[in-house]
């Protein structure tokens, strides 16, 4: 009955506006209120900054772990197909015996290709890359073994199959020691799965605490505005009208906290990249860390906004209803 009264009143006040203009006005009003509540955050700068930092840092941890998992997965994918078995031959092995071995190995059905690196070639390569250079000339004998690099077929590249192949190859008479590059890969895969589980667990806990913290910040904001809210209720404001700026504030916490998280993750990836440069140079790999993609940044931001909104929504539901106008 009273709702009807209100709508007819609104109609009479703006009789000729069409739907598009109304929508536009509605949109502009929300935009104004949204920007206005960004100003509200500024009224309590300390609390706001703390809340934003808590949100940002809380999201940084799972996001960084996610980046780690992503990189580990990309490494596994790069290497799984190109897993390589290095066979170090006994120092006593003659050139001829080595060639014989290479021939035999290439006949293995599990082997795709075989590459022989003689002790001399290995020494030369070591001289140029190690930086010891001329100093190595003073060695009377070559301490490096000849090496045979075995690339398994695609089928035999899987961790389990490659492991079996390695076993077979090390049984060859000329082979001193065999090393499968997959070993650490398998470990990496296991660690990655573990970290993925940890990420989910930590993320859930952190999200819960972020929602609670934002809820508490919004609660304080509501209590600060207690008198104003009472007056608004007195002159006929609905709860949804009163709660709107607080929901906007929650969303803003999300936006700003999400940006903090993106900055932190990017900074961390840069930092890790530097320490990785040393490591990857050592392995002569052209591997570099992949940071957050644009899409992932958007998801992170969106997620932060959802958290901010949920926190403020819970708070708003509970505390705005509790405020009643008084005549005094």
């Amino acid at each position: 009955m009273n709702k009807q009264r209100e709508t007819t009143k609104n109609h009479s006040s703006r009789p000729h506006t069409n739907v598009a203009a109304k929508l536009l006005a509605y949109f502009i009003r929300h935009l104004q209120q949204g920007i206005g509540s960004l100003g509200d955050l500024w009224r309590t700068p300390f609390t706001s900054v703390m809340t934003i930092l808590v949100l940002g840092i809380s999201l940084t941890l799972p996001a960084t772990l996610h980046v780690f998992v992503k990189n580990a997965q990309s490494i596994s994918q790069q290497w799984e197909s190109a897993s390589e078995i290095s066979l170090f031959l006994k120092l006593s092995t003659s050139e001829k015996a080595a060639e014989n071995l290479v021939k035999r190995l290439s006949l293995y059905p599990e082997v795709a290709s075989v590459k022989y690196i003689s002790a001399k070639t290995a020494m030369e390569e070591f001289k140029t890359t190690s930086g010891f250079g001329q100093a190595l000339d003073y060695l009377s004998t070559n301490p490096l073994p000849a090496t045979v690099l075995v690339i398994p077929t695609k089928h035999s590249s899987q961790p389990q199959a490659a492991e079996e192949l390695l076993q077979k190859l090390t049984n060859e008479r000329e082979v001193e020691q065999g090393k499968l590059d997959l070993e650490w890969l398998t470990r990496l895969a296991a660690i990655t799965t573990l970290i993925e589980d940890i990420v989910v667990g930590i993320a859930l806990l952190l999200c819960a605490s972020v929602v609670l913290i934002i809820g508490n910040t919004i609660r304080l904001a509501i209590l600060n505005q207690r008198d104003a809210i009472a007056v608004m209720k007195l002159v006929g404001a609905t709860d949804s009208f009163i709660q709107r700026p607080f929901l906007y504030a929650g969303a803003w916490y999300g936006v700003l906290g999400g940006m903090v998280a993106i900055l932190c993750v990017t900074a961390l990836v840069h930092y890790f990249s530097y320490s990785l440069v040393a490591l990857t140079d050592l392995y002569q790999s052209n591997f570099s860390l992949i940071g957050l993609s644009g899409g992932e940044m958007l998801w992170l931001l969106l997620f932060a906004i959802v958290l901010g909104l949920s926190g403020s929504y819970i708070s708003v539901r509970k505390h705005i209803r509790a405020i009643e106008p008084t005549a005094e």
């Binding site: 009955m1 009264r5 703006r14 008198d227 209720k233 002159v235 006929g236 709860d239 005094e328």
Partner: protein
């Protein structure tokens, strides 16, 4: 417009604030509500504005039985009542314009219409020049008039005032009452709660008198009939 039917109000703790109150106020009527401090005047106004619920009996406002109003409908009932209090209840961090505009913003009026109505309301209370001021820059009487402008800006059919002249000297009080008379002339029903019997005596209006929660008189107060009260 306003109808009380066998209304009782007992506060938690057992204090009987209203005792079997019956009265009604027609559309466009103006009346005073008097009685000693503690007689139940504020309680009666609170029942009308849904700040309190009656223990028994029914209150009708603008044709709506308030006991059937759900929580979410409360704001819409309140929009039909302009309320004015002794301590004006203004938002101190907002300008006079924003304070008066509040009910219109809440109802979603457009910018132009809001401006027009706020200016009209402030003109009626003779405060056009203070439109950009903050409440703390105004005198008590001016603040009270801002409260009145806010109460009438969305043109409610009912105006309730609780001790609107409580802090003002007799001359300012009379000016405030004159304002209410002007709105009454425009067809608004006005109910003013006050214990200032001197003020009522100078005007010839219907007067409802409460004593310890009971309505003991409903009619014209002639001369200084209740003068010994305060």
């Amino acid at each position: 417009m306003i109808r009380f039917n066998q209304v009782n109000k007992t506060y938690p703790g057992g204090f009987v604030a209203l005792n079997n109150v019956n009265f009604s106020l027609a559309a466009g009527e103006m009346a005073f509500l008097t009685g000693h401090s503690g007689a139940g005047k504020s309680t009666l106004l609170k029942l009308m504005s849904l700040m309190e619920k009656p223990t028994s009996g029914s209150v009708h406002i603008n044709g709506v039985n308030l006991s059937s109003v759900s929580y979410s409908q409360v704001p819409f009932v309140r929009r039909g009542i302009g309320m004015i209090f002794q301590n004006h209840n203004l938002l101190m961090d907002r300008t006079v314009f924003d304070n008066v505009a509040l009910p219109l913003v809440i109802e979603g009026f457009g910018h132009k219409e809001t401006k027009k109505r706020v200016e009209a309301a402030l003109e009626k209370v003779h405060l056009t020049s203070k439109i950009r001021c903050y409440p703390h820059m105004l005198s008590g009487g001016e603040q009270q008039r801002v409260g009145i402008a806010r109460a009438i800006v969305n043109k409610p059919p009912i105006l309730l005032a609780d001790e609107p002249t409580g802090n003002l000297d007799p001359k300012l009080s009379l000016e405030i009452i004159k304002l209410f008379e002007e709105f009454n002339d425009l067809g608004v029903a006005v109910l003013i709660a006050t214990h200032d019997l001197g003020l009522i005596a100078r005007l010839k209006y219907r007067t409802l008198t409460l004593k310890q929660g009971a309505m003991i008189n409903d009619g014209l107060v002639e001369g200084l009939q209740g003068g010994s009260d305060e």
